[in-house]
C-alpha cells in the first residue's frame, strides 16, 4: 500500500477521484453486459424452466407446470393416485447435504481457529510464510486435490499402509466411500476459506484486552470464551459461510470420495442433466431451491453485519 505523502492535501485526491466520470458508462458497460447476459439472464431462464413441463428425451415443452416442485415436495404414490403426503426422498438429500456441510464446517472451525490464532500471533515475516502455505493448496486444482485424497485414504492406500506398518491398527480402515470420507473431503477442500477470515479478525484484535482479563485473574480459556470469541465473531461467521456454502452444493467430494450411498445435492442436480433419464425442469427446480437457501443465508449474514456496524 502506498502511504499518503504528508504534503498531500486531503481534498487533492477528490478531483482525481472523478477523472473517469465522463467515461463511467463505457467503462462499466462490458461488466454489465457480460454478467447481465451470461449470468443474470441464465438464472432467470432457469427459474422459468423449473415451471415448464418435461419432455421425455431430456428437453422441455413450453407449458406451465408445477410438476417439478410437486415431484420434490409431494408424494402421490407410485401411480399418482394415492392421497398426497410429504415426499421425503429429496428433502432427505438436502438434509444429508446440510448435515455433511455442517460437519465439515465444524471440523474446519476446530482446526482453523487455532491455526488462524497461531499465525496471527507470529512475527510479521513468519506470518507471511504461514499465510502463503495455507493459501497455496486453495489454488491447486480442486479435482486433483480430491483425487489425491482418494488415493491417500483408499483401502490399500498409503495411509492404511502407514497405519498398518506402525502397528496402530490391525485391519485397514474402511474410509473411502463413507460419510466420513465426504466430510473429510469437504473439510480438506475448503479449510483455507476458514483460516483466512479468522486470521484477518484476530490480526485486528487488541491484545491488551487479553492482558486486562489476565490481570483480573481470568484464565486463558475464560478470556478466549468471554473476550476474544465475541470480538472475532464476524471473522468466524464469514469463515463458516465460506466453507458451508460451497460444501452444500459440492459435487467432486461426494462423487469421488462418497460413492453411491452418500449422494448430495450436487449429484442430484447433475443426474438431471447428464444422464439419459434426466429431467431438466426438476433439475432447474432443485437448483432454484439450493440457490434460495444460499441467498437466504447470505441475506441473514448481511443483516447481522449491518446490525453489528450500527451498534
Amino acid at each position: 500500500m502506498a502511504a499518503p505523502t504528508p504534503t498531500t492535501a486531503p481534498d487533492s485526491g477528490a478531483s482525481s477521484d472523478a477523472t473517469y466520470r465522463s467515461a463511467r458508462v463505457p467503462l462499466l458497460l462490458p461488466t454489465w453486459l457480460v454478467i447481465g447476459f451470461f449470468l443474470i439472464l441464465p438464472v432467470a431462464l432457469m427459474a422459468v424452466y423449473s415451471f415448464l413441463t418435461k419432455e421425455m428425451r431430456g428437453g422441455v415443452i413450453w407449458e406451465f407446470s408445477l410438476a417439478a416442485y410437486d415431484q420434490f415436495f409431494i408424494n402421490r404414490g407410485l401411480f399418482g393416485d394415492e392421497p398426497a403426503s410429504l415426499e421425503w426422498t429429496y428433502i432427505s438429500v438436502f438434509g444429508r447435504s446440510i448435515a455433511q456441510a455442517a460437519t465439515a464446517t465444524t471440523l474446519c472451525l476446530l482446526i482453523g481457529f487455532p491455526t488462524a490464532w497461531f499465525i496471527a500471533t507470529r512475527a510479521p515475516a513468519t506470518r507471511g510464510v504461514w499465510l502463503f502455505l495455507i493459501t497455496v493448496p486453495y489454488w491447486v486444482n480442486l479435482l486433483i486435490r480430491t483425487v489425491s485424497l482418494r488415493f491417500l485414504i483408499r483401502e490399500n492406500g498409503p495411509l492404511n499402509d502407514a497405519l498398518l506398518g506402525s502397528g496402530l491398527i490391525a485391519e485397514p480402515l474402511a474410509l473411502i466411500n463413507t460419510n466420513f470420507a465426504v466430510q473429510l473431503g469437504l473439510f480438506y477442500s475448503y479449510l483455507p476459506f476458514m483460516v483466512l477470515p479468522i486470521y484477518a479478525a484476530v490480526e485486528r484484535y487488541n491484545f491488551t484486552l487479553s492482558e486486562a482479563a489476565a490481570d483480573l485473574y481470568a484464565s486463558r480459556w475464560v478470556t478466549l470464551r468471554d473476550i476474544v470469541l465475541p470480538i472475532v465473531k464476524p471473522g468466524i461467521i464469514a469463515g463458516c459461510l465460506l466453507v458451508f456454502i460451497p460444501s452444500l452444493g459440492a459435487f467432486l467430494a461426494p462423487n469421488l470420495l462418497g460413492g453411491a450411498k452418500n449422494f448430495m445435492i450436487g449429484s442430484l442436480i447433475e443426474e438431471q442433466f447428464k444422464r439419459s433419464l434426466g429431467n431438466w425442469p426438476f433439475g432447474a427446480a432443485v437448483s432454484m431451491i439450493l440457490m434460495s437457501l444460499v441467498l437466504v443465508l447470505l441475506l441473514l449474514y448481511a443483516r447481522s453485519m449491518a446490525r453489528a456496524e450500527a451498534r
Partner: protein, 268 residues
C-alpha cells in the same frame, strides 16, 4: 513475558502443524507416487520418469494433449478478457466519483462468487440450449470469462485503492491527456494488481470442472474433464504424473502472484 503469555495457547501450534500436514499430505503422496516405476499404484518399484513419458507419448497422450491445449487457450483468453473488463470496471468504481447504482454494480461484479457453482452451471447450460447455441469451445470460454471477472477485479481494485490520486494529478498538471496519464502513469502503478488479477483468473479458469462439465458438450474436453473421465475408471499412474505437472503450474503461478504483489507493496 505477559505479552507472550496472553497470545500463547497450549496446543495451538500442534493444530497449526496438523493443518499444514492435512493440506499437503495428499499432494505430496501423489507427487512421490508419480515417480513410481511400477504399473501398479500400490507397490513401489523404484524411481522413474516413465509415467511422465507416458503422459506425452502413451496411448492416452493425444487425448490429453488436445484437452491441455483447450484448457490452456481457454484460460489465456478468459483471463485476458476478464482482466480487461475488470480493469475498466475498477476505474469506474474507484476513479469516477460516487454515482447511483455503484453498490448495485459492486454486487453484480461479485455475483459469480455468491451463486453456487453448480447453479451457475445449470443456468448457463439452460441458457445456451434455449437460445440454440451449440455447446463447445465458445460456450466454455463465455462461461469462464463470466466467473473470472470477480477474481480479476478484487486484486486490481485493491491495488488501485492504494494508489494516491496525486500521481495522476501531477501528470494532468503537466498537460498529459487522460489517455497518456492512464497508460504512462496509472497503469504502470496498477501493474502488480493487474498481473495478480490476471494470474488468479488464469488459475481459476484452468481449475474449473463443474461449470465446464455442464457446458462443454459432447467430444470437447478440458484437462479437468479429461482427468475426471479417466479417474472414473480408477486412478492410474499417468493421472498422478499429470496431476503433479498441473500442481507445479498452479504453485508456480501463485508464487509469482505472491512475489509480484509483495514487490508492488514495497514500491508506491
Amino acid at each position: 513475558m505477559a505479552l507472550r503469555s496472553v497470545r500463547h495457547y497450549p496446543g495451538f501450534f500442534s493444530i497449526a502443524m496438523l493443518c499444514l500436514i492435512i493440506l499437503y499430505a495428499p499432494l505430496i503422496v501423489v507427487m512421490v507416487y508419480s515417480f513410481n516405476d511400477s504399473p501398479s499404484i500400490t507397490n513401489w518399484g523404484g524411481l522413474s520418469l516413465r509415467w511422465y513419458f507416458d503422459v506425452f507419448t502413451g496411448p492416452e497422450a493425444p487425448r490429453f494433449r488436445a484437452a491441455a491445449w483447450n484448457s490452456l487457450t481457454i484460460a489465456v483468453l478468459a483471463a485476458t478478457i476478464a482482466t480487461a473488463i475488470a480493469t475498466a470496471a475498477a476505474l469506474a468504481m474507484l476513479r469516477a466519483g460516487k454515482f447511483k447504482g455503484r453498490s448495485l454494480t459492486f454486487a453484480l461484479i461479485n455475483l459469480p462468487l455468491m451463486v453456487p457453482e453448480i447453479v451457475i452451471a445449470v443456468a448457463t447450460l439452460i441458457f445456451f440450449t434455449m437460445i440454440g447455441f451449440t455447446t463447445g469451445y465458445l460456450t466454455i470460454l463465455i462461461a469462464h470469462i463470466t466467473f473470472c471477472i470477480p477474481f480479476a477485479y478484487l486484486p486490481i481494485a485493491a491495488r488501485l485503492q492504494g494508489i494516491d490520486g496525486s500521481y495522476e494529478a501531477a501528470a494532468r498538471d503537466l498537460y498529459a491527456t487522460r489517455a497518456q496519464s492512464f497508460f504512462l502513469v496509472l497503469l504502470p502503478l496498477m501493474a502488480p494488481g493487474v498481473i495478480s488479477g490476471y494470474l488468479l483468473a488464469f488459475i481459476i479458469s484452468l481449475d474449473d470442472f463443474i461449470i465446464t462439465n455442464f457446458v462443454k458438450g459432447a467430444g470437447m474436453e478440458t484437462l479437468p474433464t479429461a482427468i475426471f473421465g479417466s479417474v472414473k475408471q480408477g486412478i492410474k499412474p499417468n493421472i498422478m504424473a499429470i496431476s503433479t505437472l498441473m500442481l507445479g503450474v498452479s504453485i508456480l503461478f501463485v508464487t509469482l502472484s505472491y512475489l509480484i504483489n509483495r514487490k508492488g507493496r514495497q514500491s508506491p
